[in-house]
Each structure stands twice: as structure tokens, then as C-alpha cells.
Symmetry: C2
Subunit: 113 residues, 2 copies
């Protein structure tokens, strides 16, 4: 289970395209650029409360998309299944051959992100 901040960032990456431009901008500043609410408020010339409200509403929407499509949940399941397959291949290959292939296995793992 990842923490809520990281989870919201992941939801933003998955479903950000479904938000309005304004919502996406604010969430990206907050979750990716790590700006504070005050900094975003000053930059966009709206109140801190205004930023907070947009953020809360957008997070609710991202969670609704996740309830409907479950992309984050499915990704986590895929990574778990992939790690499982990796372990079986490691047993079969032995340590040396497995190490030889490790860069490729890492490349494949990145495809699940």
C-alpha cells in the first residue's frame, strides 16, 4: 500500500487526461512539482482556499475514475504477477544466467509503470 500523496500522484498520471486543464495544472504543481498550496495560489492569483477546493474536487474525480477503471489496482496486480514469474525464472536459470538477463528484466518491469 503506497501513501496517499504518492497514490494521488499515480492517479494523476493515469487519469489526468480526463480532468480539466485547470485541475490538471494545479495537481501537477502540487503532486509532481511539489509546490505548496500558498505557492500555487500566488502563482495563479486565486485564494489558497480556492486552490484547496479545486484540488479536493479533482482528487475525488480521480478516485471515481479508479473505481470505474481500476488501472492503478490492475497495474499493482500485474507487477506482483511479474515479480512472481521472475522468481520462477530465477530458479530455473540459476544465479549467473539470471544476472545476465537482469538488465532486460528491469527494462520489462519499466513497461508496467
Amino acid at each position: 500500500m503506497i501513501d496517499e500523496f504518492a497514490r494521488n500522484g499515480s492517479l494523476l498520471e493515469l487519469y489526468g487526461g480526463l480532468l480539466t486543464e485547470k485541475q490538471r495544472e494545479i495537481l501537477e504543481l502540487y503532486y509532481i512539482e511539489n509546490w505548496s498550496l500558498a505557492e500555487i495560489a500566488e502563482y495563479l492569483k486565486i485564494s489558497r482556499q480556492g486552490v484547496y477546493d479545486i484540488l479536493q474536487r479533482a482528487i475525488r474525480q480521480l478516485n471515481i475514475f479508479e473505481e470505474k477503471l481500476g488501472l492503478l489496482r490492475k497495474n499493482e496486480q500485474k507487477i506482483a504477477r511479474y515479480n512472481n514469474i521472475l522468481m520462477k525464472m530465477q530458479e530455473l536459470l540459476g544465479e549467473d544466467n539470471y544476472k545476465l538477463l537482469l538488465p532486460y528484466f528491469e527494462e520489462i518491469k519499466n513497461l508496467f509503470d
Copy 2:
């Protein structure tokens, strides 16, 4: 490039959760169960034209979701990159070792669907 019928079926699997229940039911009957428009119309007791209109509107929406999130496009890219990595591993492993791991590679490939 997959044909339009198969592509719409894939879009349905990816984004069906964002459609209304009625839209999803009709699209599943058409694209997954392969019923005709006339069969769906009779089953739901609406006109054939009504079924057609719901189908067309839902397909437009699925395409808008794909424009916004690009899950199908990204999946196709991932499969292409995975096949590429597989080829490099095949060269490195030699035919016999590669064949030994083939069931696992297939299992991994299924994770991209």
C-alpha cells in the same frame, strides 16, 4: 493496425467502465457476444435505429477517452517494446535456453493485454 471492429472491442475493454450501464450492455452484446443490431433491438425492445444510435454515440465517447488517455496506443507500444526485448534475450540465451523460458515469456506477454 487492427481492424475497426477489433479496435472498438479493445476500447470497450479499456474504457467500458466510463460508459453508462445501457451503453456498456449494448456494446458488450455487439462487440463481445457478436449479436446483430436486430437481435439486440429485439432483446431490449427498442428499435434497430435506437440500438445503432446508442452504439455510435458510445463509440465516439470511447474514442474521446482514447484521445485523452491513450491506453490502447500505449499498450501497443509496450507490446512492441516487449517483443524487441524478447528478441535481444533470445540472441543472448541461445535457442535451447530461450525455449525453456518461453512459457514464462508468454505469461508476461499476457500481462500486457
